[in-house]
């Protein structure tokens, strides 16, 4: 089930009603769990079995890991969990990719081997719920938090429908305690939740699907060498599309959870206003970046083993982060480019001895928000943000292109004016993309140190009402069908 569908609206209304009826907390949790399974099964019922398997195995392995004192047995249990989770992910997501690469490799050394192409369907959200369960068992192994007491709470933690299919990737301490005591949204939370859902759907349906997707698809699917204007328009269209698509999903997920009384972590913080690439990764898919930092970069050694190892660890993290997004070498190159950018940034920081900020600054109070925005709104910072945005756009070429030939052709179109280059996009498409891109960057810059709910609550109520109405009217007017979110495939 996708958020941008009539089915979900009906489902959500029923859930809101059920969650506000005078049932016991346990009954409400069972309702939420069953609804989450229904939410998932409405996509492809058989894959619910995978979700159950992952839940049950990790619940019991996690508990055993925490209670087991024997070092060898603890390691064995961890290996069982890693094999279970990563094995499932590898089979469904990387099975075809591994076989294809193996085939190419053995054929290159002279062994004539041509296996049948495997027909493996990727279960929706497998990358997300695998990471959710993995962090639980790793935390249990490191005894960083206590095991979840009931399988009901653990199942709900893994399966809770707002975050199940495309994040935000939650950690046990962020969500499990919220299931331990009765929760129901108060009127303020409900209104905030509904506002976020409206905003998220507006981003996904109106901006990503209705106004940007076609231009991005036309350019990335084109076989011809394009004029520079068309190539850049397509890349900027995708840049906006991927942000609005995924940030729209996250905003909906946070809004849906908040409407039921639960708080999910933020996943995006105006990334196209990032000043530098480490800042970008503190603002883009924040829960994945944090996961990779805590469960990959730091265990690899982080920055604790000298500068050279730090650079290597950084690159390994970004390469695997790239591969997480999809079973294709283009994603690896996308990750490598980001790793390379981070290297250069780190190198400059090391030379100039600039300390790294720990997190993107977010002002929680109105006063601080105002102060924060003034502090960073210098022209030189804006220009640095634009340089960052430029290089991020280059990486999107590899992320979206189906293969290296297409990616290289598009890069050629972007940076040279080939004499036989073709025109492709209509004037209307170009206007749409450039207007949205300018507004997107300006909005991110204005909002980079604050959050949308803080700003919304500072507005006069009538102005907020008018803006909210515009979101909903454009949503209705766009009449886009319920297309999948891009990140479902990851």
């Amino acid at each position: 089930m996708v958020f941008n569908s009539y089915t979900f609206i009906a489902f959500f209304i029923v859930m809101l009603i059920l969650h506000n009826l005078p049932f016991s907390w346990k009954v409400k949790k069972i309702n939420l769990l069953l609804a989450s399974y229904l939410f998932y099964a409405a996509w492809n019922p058989p894959f619910i079995l995978l979700l159950w398997l992952s839940t049950v195995v990790d619940f019991f392995v996690g508990r055993a890991l925490y209670n087991q004192e024997n070092k060898h047995k603890r390691k064995l249990l961890l290996v069982v969990s890693l094999i279970g989770n990563l094995g499932m992910l590898c089979f469904f997501k990387y099975g075809g990719f591994l076989l294809e690469n193996f085939t190419q490799l053995v054929n290159a050394v002279g062994w004539d081997y041509h296996p049948a192409k495997p027909n493996i369907i990727l279960p929706a959200g497998i990358s997300f719920y695998t990471f959710t369960t993995l962090c639980y068992t790793i935390d249990m192994y490191k005894k960083e938090s206590k095991p979840v007491k009931s399988i009901l709470d653990f199942s709900l933690f893994v399966t809770f429908f707002p975050h199940l299919v495309a994040g935000p990737i939650v950690r046990p301490p962020q969500l499990v305690p919220q299931f331990e005591t009765p929760r129901k949204a108060n009127q303020h939370q409900l209104m905030q939740g509904l506002l976020l859902i409206s905003l998220g759907l507006f981003m996904k349906v109106v901006l990503a699907d209705s106004l940007l997707a076609q231009s991005a698809n036309d350019v990335f699917n084109s076989k011809a060498v394009l004029k520079t204007l068309d190539a850049w328009t397509g890349v900027l269209a995708f840049s906006g599309q991927i942000f609005f698509d995924f940030a729209g999903y996250s905003t909906c997920a946070i809004g849906v959870a908040l409407s039921l009384g639960f708080v999910l972590p933020h996943n995006f913080l105006y990334p196209y206003a990032a000043i530098g690439f480490s800042d970008f990764w503190r603002r883009w898919h924040i829960t994945l970046s944090a996961w990779l930092r805590d469960y990959l970069y730091i265990p690899l050694g982080g920055n604790r083993n000298g500068k050279f190892k730090t650079y290597i660890n950084l690159m390994i993290t970004m390469l695997l982060g790239g591969l997480w997004h999809g079973a294709n070498w283009t994603f690896v190159v996308w990750g490598a480019l980001h790793g390379f950018y981070l290297w250069i940034e780190k190198f400059i920081r090391d030379i100039r001895k600039i300390p790294e900020p720990l997190a993107a600054p977010v002002a929680h109070s109105k006063e601080a928000a105002g102060a924060g925005t003034v502090r960073n709104k210098t022209f030189s910072n804006f220009m640095l943000a634009m340089v960052t945005f430029f290089f991020i756009n280059v990486t999107w070429v590899f992320f979206r292109s189906p293969d290296f030939t297409s990616a290289w052709q598009l890069l050629t179109s972007m940076f040279s004016n080939a004499p036989k280059a073709e025109v492709l996009l209509t004037t209307l498409s170009i206007i749409k993309v450039f207007v949205i891109t300018v507004l997107l960057v300006a909005f991110h810059w204005m909002m980079r140190n604050t959050r949308v709910l803080i700003v919304a609550e500072r507005m006069p109520w009538w102005l907020l009402g008018v803006i909210w109405s515009v979101f909903l009217l454009l949503l209705i007017w766009s009449q886009e069908s319920s297309s999948s979110f891009i990140y479902f495939q990851f």
Partner: protein, 346 residues
């Protein structure tokens, strides 16, 4: 904190409800009535119906002519037979024919419309929609199906839910901003040309039929498509391979007890002249019948259906569609041996 958000929410509800109501009244006063999105979900809904008993239903495949020219109400009233419309506009029916042929459970009656310029095309422009429809049908999730039923409820009530003409993108396109030389932009069809019913019947509105500007606009679009076409009429090995696919598919259906008939629906004026020139009857129509060893009904062979003047040269008006359908049923029943649940009386 609570009050401003709640007040904003109430204002939002009032503004949205008022605006939607005003927009609905406006479009209904401007020649719009309810019309359904003729996308893959609606096609899949009809595709699910093909397993009805063979003596109770007929499946139609082809291009837009089948959708305009077969009047489903007339067909069902006269024959007592359920008409299942699976034709796709601007498309060759061959991917759908293959899908039906490969479905062992389909053993029914099949009418295949031949619009030569589309039927014998292998261009992705003409195969894309049917391939997408078949794929959607096979991959459709329970959630998508549930959304389709809710969408149906809304589309049956609101005329503004017309994606092709009244969506945000359609309205922006109506600004008709000039393009750079060499850019192709899909033309805007005449406003009253194609409205779609839930049974996928397509029809022209009364305004279209009385407005020669709209008819000329649509004729101009067909002429433009004709000039733009860079795919020469299929011949030689390409034609043989298309015919081979059609033969294999029809043979499979017939081997299971199904009935197959080809139909060449009417066109007129310069459009018909162009079709006759590009796709001579003996080289295409007759060859399909001969290769597949199947019966066919060519409109030019029957005086009762040979006289139509299509408003935009390519499709029948609703009134003519009724006449065509009645005579088509008569021919099927009296000459081709097709039996229907009801005794055909014309």
């Amino acid at each position: 904190m609570t009050a401003p958000l709640a007040k904003a929410a109430i204002l939002t509800v009032v503004l949205v409800a008022t605006s939607v109501l005003c927009w609905e009244l406006y479009v209904r006063n401007n020649d719009f009535d309810t019309s359904y999105d003729d996308g893959p979900p609606l096609w899949s809904d009809k595709r699910r119906m093909i397993y009805e008993p063979a003596d109770r239903s007929t499946v139609f495949i082809g291009s837009s002519r089948n959708k305009f020219d077969i009047d489903i109400d007339t067909w069902e009233n006269i024959t007592g037979d359920h008409a299942i419309q699976l034709a796709c506009v601007g498309s060759t029916p061959i991917p759908i024919l293959e899908d039906l042929a490969n479905d062992e459970d389909f053993k029914g009656k099949l009418v295949i419309d031949i619009t030569e310029v589309l039927f014998f095309s292998t261009s992705p422009n003409n195969t894309g929609t049917p391939i997408e429809c078949v794929k959607y049908y096979k991959d459709e999730t329970p959630a998508q199906r549930a959304s389709f039923y809710i969408d149906h409820l809304l589309e049956s009530q609101f005329a503004f839910l017309d994606k092709d003409r009244l969506s945000l993108n359609a309205q922006l396109k109506n600004l008709r901003i000039p393009n750079r030389p060499g850019v192709f932009e899909f033309p805007i069809f005449a406003n009253g040309f194609g409205r779609v019913q839930f049974n996928r019947q397509e029809y022209m509105t009364p305004k279209f039929l009385s407005d020669t500007n709209q008819q000329n606009q649509q004729r101009g679009i067909w002429a433009m498509f004709g000039k733009m076409r860079n795919e020469p009429p299929a011949s030689g090995k390409k034609l043989d391979s298309i015919l081979a696919i059609v033969k294999t598919s029809t043979d499979k259906i017939k081997a299971r007890g199904g009935q197959v008939i080809f139909v060449r629906t009417p066109s007129s004026g310069p459009f018909l002249a162009g079709e006759n020139m590009g796709f001579p009857r003996e080289k295409y129509w007759e060859k399909v019948l001969a290769v597949t060893n199947s019966p066919g009904v060519h409109f030019a062979d029957y005086p009762a259906i040979a006289h139509f003047a299509c408003p935009e040269f390519s499709h029948l008006s609703p009134a003519d569609a009724i006449v065509f359908t009645k005579n088509f049923i008569k021919i099927l029943n009296s000459e081709k041996g097709w039996k229907f649940p009801k005794q055909v009386q014309l």
